[in-house]
Symmetry: C2
Subunit: 219 residues, 2 copies
Amino acid sequence: MTNQVILLDFWPSMFGMRTKIALAEKGVEYEYKETDPWVKTPLLIEMNPVHKKIPVLIHNGKPICESLIQIEYIDEVWSDTYPILPSDPYEKSQARFWGEFIDRKFYDPSWKVWGTKGEEQVAARKELIEHFKTLETELGDKPYYGGEVFGFVDIALIGYYSWFKAMEKFGEFSIEKEAPKLIEWTKRCIVRESVIKAMADPDNIIQYACVFRKSLGVE
Amino acid sequence: MTNQVILLDFWPSMFGMRTKIALAEKGVEYEYKETDPWVKTPLLIEMNPVHKKIPVLIHNGKPICESLIQIEYIDEVWSDTYPILPSDPYEKSQARFWGEFIDRKFYDPSWKVWGTKGEEQVAARKELIEHFKTLETELGDKPYYGGEVFGFVDIALIGYYSWFKAMEKFGEFSIEKEAPKLIEWTKRCIVRESVIKAMADPDNIIQYACVFRKSLGVE
């Protein structure tokens, strides 16, 4: 079967970065279509009619939405190379748990820390720091969340790395001071070819966040 | 290997109902421990230190949290009987997508429609009806979300059935009027032995919701 793979994505998205990393780890070639999610293009609406959000992975014409679901899909379809999820059901459930944690708990304060001000920002920073500490505790002394190997949770979290500098600048805190082992972990991840290629430049993200802050009335 | 299975759950939880249904479909015997999530028992804190929420599935001493993750775990561990998720990666990704949709979009308005009043309730009802219609469209003319078989999305959604009556009573609307095919689908589901055993009595849920409404200052 021919594998025609298209990715609808927007360069600053930490979710899209996950999917790009997973595809790169598997060595899957794909066509990248830059898709600003604030402009609802006909293709985006057709491929993700429910959420109308990026990233959308289109495999042989069929769309897969939601980045964590995309990673699982990629791992299952291209199963003969680099396993992303553990094969053991218990370890797999724990990887899924932390992926969910990042999406449900981490995401909200991670943008509010740079996208709000005043009390809302203070509360977001407090919450975000707690989550950084929780994630650091979960990492423990392992080199990766996947243990000895770079896996599902690593991919789920490292997508945020491009935004760390913006979080620190506008949130006025140091992630390294709060979670030094987590920063050590990022250093191991960001030298991987798949990660280097997927990540947005943190300085470009700061510029993007500046524009966004103005549109939100924060600046 | 001995299979010691314990479920920490609270009777009105639509999430716990999912896990009970999945275990029943697989014919897994387990010890049920009624666990009020508002009372943070030492066992609950030990088994789900991050969220401190039910349901928690404990398999041979190891906890699995989050109901959708529990269903996947149950399906993988007891893989030799009744398959819950489709085996095809694309169909599996779509099942996961709708499970996520129910958790991320449906849950919030589904409690606000009975747990709030005024403008907040009106907005919740509007949103909830939209989601009911979206879910009905996704069902289409299939007997189940799993196609010909009762599967992952069916389990994810039917857990809410016990709450339908409370939603309708306090939200002052008719689900059947808004999404008649969805109600036809519930009728097919609620005759299953696994569902009958798992579901809370809708009238008991109404009584529970009454108590909750008082504590929230809605009544």
